[in-house]
Subunit: 246 residues, 2 copies
């Protein structure tokens, strides 16, 4: 159910647990198949509501715990596993866009998707070399962001500029840059490039960027984790946009 | 070498790898014992320099790979493991202090220590219920912050207020608060309380807090991971202090 090749060919991804399946139903995601254990789910009120909702869903089947354990990737399955179609969310216009340039750790990418959703990012572009955003670890860490964020995957740096919707500035996060991230005007349509954990933004990414920004630090810390750095910048962008509007 | 009881009784902690051992030497940490594989380390210039430095260190012993593997907690040991005394770093005055209120995930605590160092936090107070800051996973995630940050551990909420050095405001991060984190004046001496991943700041912590702050969000994200939330707030505090000084 979860080999990369199969998932990508079918454009399906696997979600587990009450919360993610609730999100999928709320977003009218297309279910290829769902298996659930009514007894286990009915132990909570929220689970019981989910059982009722799945009952009216095509391709959803009550199944014994062994079946759910067999398709689950987690050690203690929450009683429901489903394969759903990749959501197709239309980019929400200009605003701030996020480009992941070969970010490889699934936890970092999942966290960045969650932050992107929390900060109202209009589109996430994953340049080739970035971990599969529909892989189970990314999906778990993103906690439902996939259903509401426009995400483009397997984009080359040749294609990326045409996908970026009217960004006045494209900022690359570069540890050695001299411009602080808070000196950027994030109220203008813009994009942020977050680079690979070990090598930073690629040469091709730097060529697309119009400015390089860094997070000034006080202590002798070498560099921040990609998820922390990206989140700090994206929340500053949101802070500026909220204050700019008030 | 690494059971919690032993480590705490001896006030020792275990560090692994070239980078952390370099940090320990640079900070004049007290080595109880270090074992290293000269052949493995000498494969890099940096490793060779470390071998030379360890050669003049008491209690540091060249050892075969099997010995290092036996005391290492990682799958592929980097060729050096040491047990060093808990650093005693004096609190650096007022500024911004960080209080961890039963934060339990080692990765979150390690990341918050790294952020605390990067943002020039003057002291970290770990209230009882917080994961042991000297446990191996925290030490790995903090990447050397232990050697430069003043950290108080196993503090009760009764003791915490006397440890907080002249904080004009104590802010509790509470998802439902109405005051945005950027409305706080972080140029004043202050403290930030980050709470437990599932339950947030405790009742006792809320009683010590003078104000509650939240991170305003755009999307329907339930709440942020403790490490992300804490980092976003601490970097805003640093941004204010850097701008206030310029």
């Amino acid at each position: 159910m979860t080999s990369r090749k199969d998932r990508r060919h079918e454009r399906l991804f696997v979600i587990e647990g009450v919360r993610l399946v609730e999100e999928a139903l709320r977003s009218h995601a297309q279910f290829a198949v769902a298996v659930y254990n009514p007894d286990q789910l009915a132990a909570t009120e929220r689970g019981a509501r989910l059982v009722a909702a799945l009952g009216s869903q095509a391709n959803a089947f009550a199944a014994p715990p062994e079946v759910i354990a067999a398709v689950s990737e987690t050690v203690t399955p929450q009683g429901v596993v489903a394969a759903v179609a990749w959501p197709e969310v239309e980019p929400a216009g200009r605003g701030v866009q996020l480009v992941l340039d070969a970010v490889q750790d699934p936890g970092n990418v999942g966290t960045l998707l969650r932050t992107a959703e929390a900060t109202g990012i209009s589109q996430v572009i994953c340049v080739a070399g970035t971990v599969d955003v529909y892989s189970p670890k990314v999906v778990r860490a993103a906690m439902g962001a996939h259903f509401r964020l426009p995400i483009a995957q397997d984009v080359t740096w040749d294609e990326a500029p045409t996908l970026l919707i009217g960004a006045d500035n494209v900022y690359a996060a570069v540890a050695s840059a001299t411009m602080p991230y808070y000196a950027a005007d994030w109220r203008q349509p813009s994009a942020l490039i977050v680079g690979n954990e070990a090598n930073g933004v690629s040469v091709a990414g730097l060529a697309v960027a119009t400015k390089q920004i860094a997070i000034p630090m006080q202590g002798p810390v070498e560099s921040l984790n990609a998820a922390i750095a990206g989140s700090v910048i994206l929340f500053e962008a949101l802070r500026q946009r909220k204050l700019g509007r008030s």
